[in-house]
Symmetry: C2
Subunit: 176 residues, 2 copies
DNA sequence: GATCATTGTGCAACTTGTTGCACAATCGCT
DNA sequence: AGCGATTGTGCAACAAGTTGCACAATGATC
């Protein structure tokens, strides 16, 4: 649904091979649209077949050979059209909240440790975002593109901040 | 993965038919583990076959006939075991943030309207949560079960609050 | 008593995402 | 030259979620 658009965005920022794309997903786009290399290769194949991207001709076509892709005009148009489409927020589906609800019914043994573990994970993620913020957005961005990108990062920061404060409260509540 | 556990939790709270379950998902468990009636019926079938739940004998077995399910001991044990399992937070996958990132590349035409639309949706959701809070958790809960349930609701409230403040900021940023 | 909306159950086809693995080229080391 | 680590591409099987539809019973309405 959205993965092809995530890939088009990444490829517009910089033409890449499948593996490069995978790595960039791990530390950028993947923060808010995660994916595995298998899925990325599959989508690259489909996008190429659909005429939205093409492999740069320099590369030899053989297995184990690096293959760089770039976005074709049709791909850019497709992405621009998608950006303009309205789309409702997806329904929430969070295993931890569900688990808490189940714990209310069958007992909450050991859930405190799980909450603390999650807290640490979210704190680590927040620290990562803060680093990116310092590295890329200090001083404050001036171009429209960078303002948008900064807003997206702020989304990640605020989201982690939400989790941290909720988890902290939950832990205190359960202990008290 | 988690849907069967969501169903077990709901059925433990109160034995129900498929459609009742679907309705309760729409205004309770579904707030953090959404599902459709088709999926619910499918899972009910699997859970019954696996011996975790059973249809109450009162009902006639015919299509279009209401069929109530209750949880068997095996189902409760299964749920309790699941609650104790550690599980990492799922990677974020948010279309709106992705869309903003794409907008940074192909242009942000009309994204302001989309942000405002989402803001309204999240405000409505928050209002719904507030109502539930007032109805069910005022005065403050005393039992452990209710404390856990209230924490889950607080999660929903805080999450909507995060979105509202992020969206408000984003709208201001883009206008300014 | 025919028809229509509602309640209720469910199948089938499809799309998306996950997991596990296979295989090819390249580079550094000894 | 041979070996292993790394880089790189990709298939196959499966699990989970979505979409569209079919069909049965019940109660209300004319």
């Amino acid at each position: 649904m959205s993965l092809p658009h995530a890939i088009l965005t990444a490829l517009l920022e910089k033409p890449s091979s499948g593996l490069e794309l995978t790595r960039r997903f791990d530390r950028s786009i993947g923060y808010f649209w995660s994916s595995t290399h298998q899925q990325i290769y599959r989508e690259l194949g489909k996008l190429e077949e659909a005429g939205r991207i093409r492999a740069l001709p320099t590369a030899v076509t053989a297995r184990g050979q690096k293959k760089e892709y770039e976005v074709l005009p049709a791909g850019r148009e497709e992405l621009a059209a998608w950006v303009a489409l309205p789309e409702d927020p997806r329904p929430v589906r969070d295993p931890l909240l569900l688990r808490m609800r189940a714990a209310a019914v069958v007992g909450a043994d050991g859930i405190g440790a799980e909450l603390r573990r999650h807290l640490a994970l979210h704190e680590a993620q927040l620290a990562e975002y803060r680093e990116i913020e310092e590295r890329n957005f200090t001083p404050a961005p001036t171009t429209d593109e960078d303002r948008l990108r900064y807003l997206v990062l702020r989304g990640g920061i605020d989201l982690e901040t939400f989790w941290i404060s909720w988890l902290t409260r939950a832990i205190a509540d359960l202990d008290g």
